[in-house]
Symmetry: C2
Subunit: 169 residues, 2 copies
DNA sequence: ATCGTTGCAAACGTTTTGCATAAGG
DNA sequence: CCTTATGCAAAACGTTTGCAACGAT
């Protein structure tokens, strides 16, 4: 579930930091700027990675330590981040996976069934196809999720190496 | 989760019926041709619809009645149908959704967030884009899932009608 | 007779809830 | 002070499992 560094799509310049944007969102809805929320924005945006609620929890301080955030609050806050446009979420193997949305370009994923890595890609052609399909069906688009399942280059090479090794035995 | 009849993509002629194909699959793997499996093939292929395990269970005979199939068996059998190539499955709102695969052309979906209807569409252009992306990344494709989220024509019309009604008050 | 399959009950992993307490505005 | 947010415990959700009884080959 890590991002392949070589596949990074760069970032889009934005006016406000994720924290500023979130604070603005909270204010506009009369919600509160709590320590937990501020801390989670900081942690979630400190590195660009795909993650699920559990992986995030593992990286956070344990119960009893400073900045501890309970599991329900993590779930509630991730949902708020999605509403606020900071994160995008999609489902993979029955769990919700999150990734940066704010300040990050729209993209889709290749999902390797062997190493479970998500490789990001971006293509204008896809956007155009979707737009024309939607027009045909008079469908108002809000977003899309495309996942291509298969086996990545590294895992294909690994498997053929293993097959060769087996042949020698 | 119903199929829009008007959006039906037709079917592809196949040599064997779903039941025959499944029986062949079972035989090839030394698995058994049980009454429950035969009954479920019949029910699942009696109409072309998207469905989840719960929706299927609701349509099946209740405990104590003839042809009753338990929940675990329904789950196990749906998984076998996917392995056998009879059904395709994808995740929607945290549940596994199934649709016919055998004898039905590859397609993708528009998902209406208002009425939760899945509209099927098919485009050759998408297949080509995915192939070229995969080639670029030396990625071996096994399949893909594209879902376009938004609001369908019917729901858009409904909402504007309601807005107009409100304006008159 | 063998061994895969079923139904039951109980577990599972993820996410959500009700509620009392804490803390932001 | 008035709410909203939090942490806790427990529930809810869809799905899977262990196991004894059953049934197909």
């Amino acid at each position: 579930m890590e991002v392949d560094e070589q596949e990074s799509l760069g970032s889009v310049p934005v006016a406000l930091s994720p924290l500023e944007r979130f604070e603005e969102y909270l204010q506009s809805r009369g919600q509160r700027n709590t320590e937990q929320r501020r801390y989670l924005v900081e942690r979630v945006f400190s590195h660009h990675e795909h993650f699920d609620a559990d992986q995030l929890m593992e990286q956070l301080p344990r119960k009893g330590h400073p900045n501890y955030v309970s599991r329900p609050t993590v779930y509630r806050t991730l949902k708020e981040f999605v509403d606020a446009g900071l994160l995008r979420s999609f489902e993979l193997n029955g769990r919700a996976v999150y990734e940066h949305d704010y300040g990050y370009p729209q993209h889709d994923h290749l999902y390797c069934e062997k190493c479970h890595k998500l490789i990001e890609f971006r293509t204008e052609a896809l956007t155009e196809i979707i737009a024309s399909i939607a027009q045909l069906h008079k469908f108002r688009i809000r977003g899309h999720r495309l996942t291509v399942d298969g086996v990545c280059d590294a895992c294909s090479k690994q498997r053929s190496r293993e097959r060769r090794r087996q042949d020698r035995v």
